[in-house]
Amino acid sequence: MSDEAQQPEAEKTLFEAPPMAEQERMVEAILFATAEPVTVRELEARMPHGCDPAEALAHLRKRYEGRGVRVVRVGDAWAVRTAPDLGFLMQKETVETRKLSRAAVETLAIIAYHQPVTRAEIEEIRGVSVSRGTVDQLLEMEWIRFGRRKMTPGRPVTFVVTQDFLDHFGLESARDLPGLKELRSAGLLENRPPPGAMPQTGEGDVDADEETSEGQSELFED
């Protein structure tokens, strides 16, 4: 119905600015491809004569509302940017599988075989101090957790293994862990003691084990 009214419009566009939809496309392409935010003045300079970049921008801005990218104002210039709620996609996560350190494996093993066990006891058995990082790592992996406190002076916390731990290693309970004798007969010990070995030291461990020995000693019978 407004055809007559638009006809002269259309004719005029031959010498005047392209239709607004086209101007919007142009602004879209320029904002996309330009290395820095673009001012309206610059848009005007780059677009064909007679264009109204401000209006085109307003249309474009509306079009991108709620989309994955938005048309945003940066100072007195304009740019296309990722929608803030999708910022998390701008991370590329690379998962690397690494073997647990020897210290962590040993600490974990002691907890598994001696649980509930205090840090002091772990250190006693390993013969070296246990770094905070090692314990934290195991806690974070959710392979160990805090057990009940020991009823000894200072009421130290204890560590026990978790269900996750059992799941990971395919164990029903920590009791299923093989004892030394079994490990040896299964050939799982890397080194056998040389023939005619000296009597073992290791009295040091005895005290440490004392509390737990009841529960676990049968595991380690040799």
Partner: protein, 265 residues
């Protein structure tokens, strides 16, 4: 006879053709080898490359080479190789096929040359079409303001049951666990003997039996005695080498004696 034939056909080339081939010769550096030249020559036939007359093409090429010779223009070897081959092809094409002759027929050779020309032309057309496409950075543009993608490295630690058990065994058998250490209780090392003797030789102004330097408590057990004796003897030799002591033995199996060597001597 065929020689004459060729001569006559050359003679029969029109003036226009001669001028054309001369023009080509001036531009000889502009050609990328004989195949390129042949392709250019073939355009004068103004036909579909599939209907090209290879015989005619061979004539044109040979004319080109003749002209170049006449104008004393040096042609690269491969142009001359191609000329020789085309002369051979031409004779094959002109002569009736000889059933006794080995190798491909003239027609087969000509067909292959035509194929090569057609293929080269096709690739040139394809290249032109390719370059006529909208190109990135000229007609099409990438994102000008890329956002940095942060790399998050997540480390997933793992261990096997075997690691766990071996780790445990390692701790529990730590004291049994001396794969490379000899049982020192039965071994007296040369280092130990040296250390012991260094402290004693200062007093050995006179010849003393080496057995006097044996460590205490090592003489009873035969294994221990052997080790201590060997170590003490080795240490004595070491000290003699250093010039700290002198060693003597009156006869075989006689006691070995040593004494301090005076630095003055």
């Amino acid at each position: 006879m065929t020689e004459e034939d060729r001569e006559t056909t050359t003679e029969h080339l029109s003036v226009a053709e001669r001028l054309a081939s001369e023009a080509l010769i001036v531009d000889v550096d502009g050609f990328e080898g004989p195949l390129d030249l042949l392709l250019t020559l073939s355009r004068t036939q103004k036909v579909d490359l599939r209907k090209i007359s290879v015989l005619e093409l061979a004539r044109q090429y040979l004319t080109f080479v003749e002209q170049a010779k006449a104008l004393r223009i040096e042609l690269a070897a491969d142009y001359l190789v191609m000329a020789a081959w085309l002369a051979f092809l031409k004779s094959r094409l002109l002569l009736p096929p000889d059933p006794a002759e080995e190798g491909p027929s003239g027609e087969e050779l000509a067909a292959h040359l035509a194929f090569q020309l057609e293929r080269l032309q096709a690739m040139r057309d394809a290249a032109a079409q390719l370059m006529a496409r909208d190109q990135l950075g000229r007609d099409i543009f990438v994102r000008g303001l890329p956002e940095t993608v942060e790399r998050v490295r997540k480390v997933h630690y793992t261990a096997t049951l075997l690691d766990l058990m071996q780790g445990y065994a390692r701790i529990r058998t730590r004291d049994e666990f001396r794969p490379f250490v000899m049982d020192r209780d039965h071994v007296f090392t040369m280092e130990q003997a040296l250390e012991r003797m260094r402290g004693l030789i200062g007093f050995a102004g006179d010849w003393t039996d080496i057995s006097g330097y044996m460590p205490e408590g090592w003489g009873d057990d035969p294994i221990r005695r052997r080790s201590a004796t060997a170590a003490t003897f080795a240490a004595s030799l070491e000290l003699a080498k250093e010039g700290k002591v002198e060693i003597r033995q009156s006869e075989s199996f006689a006691p070995i004696q040593l004494r301090r060597r005076d630095p003055r001597e």
